[in-house]
């Protein structure tokens, strides 16, 4: 029984069956990669997990509880964090403030009226956010206006923000897209470290096979809305069906 159990999920957009009969089980403390051609429905599946979309059929259980019908923030409070394909950060806020918000969300829940306290006097939050920035190698950008960072930095910040919430399941939608090789390698290390040290389960969508094969313990290949195969990385690499549908000659 995995921490995340997806059963028979289907989703239709108008005339397009984006997902059908998706079954997926993500084991606790594993790194589970979801790969597949463009338009296979990977992001759609992710959206169904976090409450952005409601699947037409099937069920999604996280840690024994159904996530369906819950709002995104409720699902997040259950322990699922998500990194978006195009970075979603608080552009008007500084990097430090961006990092503090998830810390508050973790400590205080979905809503708390703390209108009089001084934000900076919340020692535990400030320390945690600073530590996280150091972990993300962004301490020097602390007071920067986050909207004016380059895209790679934005993505790193977003990952950091998700980690600061200490989620139990981290969902990443192409976290290294557009990242320089050096940073990609750093991110791989970081994610490895996360899954080893923080006991966070990771589900990752990625087209960069270098990243996928460096991280994943388990891979699901999605094609045209249904899982094609699910297997260990080595087997996937050799699978002719996968090669044809997805990997091409290069892998």
């Amino acid at each position: 029984m995995g921490i995340l159990e997806v059963k028979d999920v289907g989703k239709r957009f108008g005339g397009l069956q984006a997902l059908s009969d998706v079954n997926l089980s993500v084991k606790e403390n594993s790194v589970h990669a979801i790969i597949g051609p463009n338009g296979a429905g990977k992001s759609t599946l992710l959206n169904c997990l976090v409450g952005k979309l409601i699947p037409d059929t099937g069920s999604v259980m996280f840690d024994g509880q159904s996530v369906l019908g819950r709002t995104p923030y409720e699902i997040n409070q259950m322990g699922i964090s998500r990194v978006f394909q195009t970075p979603e950060i608080f552009g008007d806020l500084t990097v430090m403030e961006n990092m503090m918000i998830p810390c508050f969300a973790k400590r205080d829940g979905a809503f708390r009226m703390h209108a009089i306290e001084n934000m900076m006097a919340e020692k535990d939050i400030v320390e945690k956010a600073e530590a996280m920035l150091v972990d993300m190698n962004m301490a020097d950008k602390k007071d920067m206006h986050s909207a004016s960072m380059s895209r790679g930095d934005k993505r790193r910040l977003e990952i950091g923000m998700c980690l600061a919430q200490e989620p139990r399941l981290l969902l990443l939608d192409e976290p290294t897209a557009g990242m320089a090789r050096a940073d990609t390698n750093n991110t791989i290390d970081l994610l490895k470290q996360i899954s080893d040290e923080r006991e966070i389960t990771i589900a990752i969508i990625e087209h960069d096979m270098h990243v996928v094969f460096s991280l994943a313990n388990r891979i699901t290949v999605l094609a045209q809305g249904t899982p094609l195969v699910e297997d260990d990385p080595e087997n996937i690499r050799g699978n002719p069906k996968v090669r044809e549908a997805y990997l091409g000659e290069t892998a």
Partner: protein, 393 residues
Amino acid sequence: MLGLNKKDTSLMIVVAILALFAPFILNPFPEGSAMAQFNAGYPDLMQRFVIFGIFAIGFNILFGLTGYLSFGHAAFLGIGSYSVVWMYKLLDYNVIWGLPLAIITSGLFALLIGYVSLRRSGIYFSILTLAFAQMSFNLAYSVLTPITNGETGLQVYTDDAQVLLGANEATSPHLFGIVMNSSAKLDLGPWSFTFNNGYYFCAIILLLVFYLAIRIFRSPFGMMLRAIKSNQTRLNYTGLNPRPYALAAFVISGMYAGLAGGLMAAMDPLAGAERMQWTASGEVVLMTILGGTGTLIGPVLGAGFIKYFENIFSKINDNILHQWFAFLPDGLEDFVVFIIHPFIGKGWHLTLGILFMLVVIFLPGGLVEGGQRIKRALSRKKDADAAKTEPAE
């Protein structure tokens, strides 16, 4: 100090000094001089500066932080006023009954209106708030006349209940006997300064609520509000529910508006329906933007700016112009008066409109940005001076 950082403390001190010494600061010109026309240091206007400052500070907590643009805040202003006058009518002229009630009723109304309106965002939200406020205004003006006294405005009549009214009690608003409309005058040479009880009462309240606003701005709550403005999607996916935060901000700013409305009635025991009209809601929007949205002091400046024009420029007439320019040769005098004439007196709207445009074109951040630019120019000059002197050392 008081849990504020250095910058905020000095801002607070500056505001406190400005507020407490306003009777001097606003009356820079000697009585009877030609420029005395520009003096603003009389009780009514000083009270208005402060009251509308409070209104705008509260509005800015909603608009400046969350970005939700309410076009119906005047409704709360009106509700605050009606609450206070009703307390005069039922109990007595002590403002201590009415003001808390004003805050509570406007808070409740804000809760209701905000709860409904915040289901939508952007312009849809603005129009919902506008619709609620206009409904309140239209009803208060006519159908609800038994409660609001309609067009005439709610006021105290001698046959009102006033159950607490003591035999020797003042028959105008007061706080435990401190009568709001009584003043002390100080004459220094040609200068004359007025110290009005009501003004100081309002000023102290302003300082309190300004302090509260700083605390809110610097609080985690304030940061959440800014996060709402910045990216609601991210907020949702960070496990935070934007709705109660926005609603809390709406209610707080509604209470500020209610307090401001209550104070208006505390200074002048009358509550008119037009306080709830959309133009009044629009005015506070303009004040906030003009001063500098999202800044602490901006809304107060914006409020002062608009009220100054409304009360000082509208009173300048051709006669006064002729007095000012009497030193010019006759033809030239008439010409100058002719040129200035469209902008003063009944033309004060024109001047105001032009100034709105100039400010927003040249100072995108509002009056506060103007201040910052001056400061920067000065410090740059200082730097330049310093640079010049360096080689000499």
